[in-house]
Symmetry: C2
Amino acid sequence: MKNMLKKHKSSCLKTTTARKDSSKQILMAAENIFAERGYRGSTISAIADAVGLPKANILYYFKTKEKLYKEVIKHLLTLWMQHMNEMTPEIHPRDALPKYIMNKVRQSQKHPNASRIFAAEVLHGAKYLRQSLQAELREQFEGTSIVFRAWQNKGWIDPINPEHLIFMLWSSTQAYADHELQISILMGKEQLEEDDFSEGIKLITQVILKGIGVK
Amino acid sequence: MKNMLKKHKSSCLKTTTARKDSSKQILMAAENIFAERGYRGSTISAIADAVGLPKANILYYFKTKEKLYKEVIKHLLTLWMQHMNEMTPEIHPRDALPKYIMNKVRQSQKHPNASRIFAAEVLHGAKYLRQSLQAELREQFEGTSIVFRAWQNKGWIDPINPEHLIFMLWSSTQAYADHELQISILMGKEQLEEDDFSEGIKLITQVILKGIGVK
DNA sequence: GTCTATAAGCTGATAGAC
DNA sequence: GTCTATCAGCTTATAGAC
């Protein structure tokens, strides 16, 4: 487990499997390691081993560990926010909200690392997030608040606090990635199954829609 | 900031302020450091400095860093679960749920560290939690599921999935501690104010009660 | 019980051969 | 561009004086 197979020295320009750019492979491996162990718990060696490269190569592509981490975060935030734009003032919440909730939970299912790294970052002060991406996140947040307010004005939903509704949506959907382990322990399973995700989607949709008075 | 004042050598048996047991002081300091920096990011030196003691003393009281962490976790889980017991099959959800939601958010407000350490632990695989406390957590979880099922049978709430409702309650209330920083950034504040907590309580209560059909 | 000094090991990062 | 070797610094934990 410690000494990995050292692949191709200088003798490879086109290996059998389509050779992806090392940079991309490193990013993918880093995403996994960071998600599992957190920033400080992750070591450059571990990432190097996962890709099958020497440590020095990682630092050749990404000058420092911190810069590598920022690159990972940047990519993940895009994923994390992508479905929010699909809610607009024109679309009725009875259509828009179930779709958003489904997409968000499904994303937690498919890309749990994205959600986990993001959650860990927030949990420990959003240090890197704040520097570079605060603006984009906030813009998204305010855009969605405006959508919810528009729905209220049209009488499509009850008068509720739009900002806090966003928090409730985020936290309840994201839980299926962040707390997957907690949930699976409590449900007595090794890991969450398809049914658990679809049950979660069903419950959240049911409670939110009825709870804010969508007819 | 680095060299702290070295207090009392051998010349103190009863100092001015009531001298708490070092052990307790260490636990409190450790709670803060672990919450801010995570397990791996926290160093024994940092904890020692926070209490004003040399590193060796921390390891005198708690044999290893890991054992100290486990002690902290153990204490926090008690806090984290304490309000769930107050929901029983006899009490109507219109009284029990608002009270639980309020207590849970208020606890996030008063003891954000408890929630944060707990969340970080879960996020990174619940390694320590699983070893020692899985049983207690699960017992609590199953107890509450039974309560929700009883409410359903009495027709007090809609037929919903009790387990997933618990997740929704946990995640939406805990967000006010876990994501305090995210929330305050998005709301354009340095930190959350009293109004934000009470608005959050109001919204969650409103949406959950109406959402599961409590009359 | 409390402290100083130090061991033993791992980490991020660099230098320099190929 | 890719790799090996190594440095300098920090970490947990221990040994042993007081």
